[in-house]
Symmetry: C2
Subunit: 231 residues, 2 copies
């Protein structure tokens, strides 16, 4: 690593099916006056640290996405590509479009409330270990149960974190992680952990929510309104 400004790309993963949105398309649903995906992508477009953006989308949304995200306002978006069957396949598709970066930020397309501050802190954290993940302390009581729903244990909450994105990795580390013949993983850091590479958490934000249900959209609108970003 050099002391010069690192070269950073972002992969926005928006290829999920949105099954819990009751038929609504998740990333193209409006949040306030524009589709979720535009709100998700803009902080990366606006970040001085990020030089290239790849958006990974489900095949049937590709045309719509190209119509929405094009022109000088989205100058950093180099590729809109089609995802694979699993989340990690979609991320791998995005990574294939990138060359010679120092870091890659991977971010859920359905987390439109990401901020410039969170992006900056993600990069700071990644410079320390090469793998940094936004997370917030778990507030629920979590129990482990067997298939018969008998409780096996109540987990100690104090060391549990609910993982978010952005997740930022050294480019070589995440490339190798995605070359593994890997079991399904619910986040990219898991793949990096399987390599034995150290992953560090940094404090995410409780309002950096993932839009999964129609109720989440209402919460997101309220958060935007409080931030003054919505009429």
């Amino acid at each position: 690593m050099t002391s010069s400004k690192p070269k950073v790309a972002a992969v926005i993963v928006a290829a999920g099916q949105g099954l819990r949105m009751g038929g609504l398309d998740k990333v193209l649903s409006p949040l306030g006056d524009e589709p979720i995906l535009l709100r998700t992508t803009r902080p990366f477009q606006d970040s001085p640290a990020v030089s290239q953006i790849v958006i990974v989308i489900a095949g049937e949304k590709e045309e719509m996405c190209r119509q929405l995200i094009g022109g000088p306002a989205w100058s950093k978006v180099s590729h809109i590509c089609i995802g694979g069957p699993r989340r990690q396949d979609s991320v791998a598709e995005g990574l294939k479009r990138l060359n010679r970066f120092d870091y890659v930020m991977i971010h859920d397309g359905a987390r439109p409330l990401v901020t410039a501050d969170l992006i900056a802190r993600a990069l700071d954290a990644a410079r320390e270990t090469g793998a940094a993940v936004a997370a917030v302390p778990v507030t629920d009581t979590i129990k482990r149960a067997d298939g018969d729903l008998t409780v096996l244990e109540t987990l100690s909450r104090q060391d549990l974190w609910a993982v978010q994105t952005p997740q930022v990795f050294r480019f070589d580390v995440i490339q190798i992680a995605h070359l593994q013949d890997a079991e399904e993983a619910t986040d990219d850091a898991s793949l990096v952990e399987r390599l034995g590479h150290k992953v560090k958490l940094f404090m995410g934000a409780y309002d950096n929510i993932k839009i999964t249900t129609p109720d989440d959209l209402i919460v997101a609108e309220n958060i935007l309104r409080q931030r003054g970003g919505l009429a």
Copy 2:
């Protein structure tokens, strides 16, 4: 246990400080046209299975609570009593007001979206093992980290459950559990588990949310509106 109808009491625990509500009082905040605590208590008042209700409240809210909850509409509320420093101390205060029951349902005062269906299913589940806890599958990726925020492991999500209330226990079991000189516990079932008593989960509801932040109030209003319970 007999085959006759079991005698059931409910303890509503509303003694928390509501620190994340930004100065708003949590259980006395309006949800739609009435305070959260009334909405929380009503399904237990209306349940044919429940014969007595004890409400545990923070000292400074006792008078307000007595003004709100009194008269024939709240005929089953036998006591409004003051909680202790920890959640389990508050529950213990409530249990002291009860005599000769078969089961006790313990419910968070800040979960006003509990339904008659959930109460009925909670009782069915408790009759099986004497200890039954509402819970929903965890949807976040959960990692365990050390004090330095280095990830130790990503937990297998498939056997993890986020615990809710109601939690229902055989009266003798929960009484003994609360007589232990116990470490702090975030739910009542943990105390029962420490006795070595079997605890079973039953499927709660994702919309049985706990009101912890002002955003949660907005979600709750939306859920009530969808249910037709709010103009």
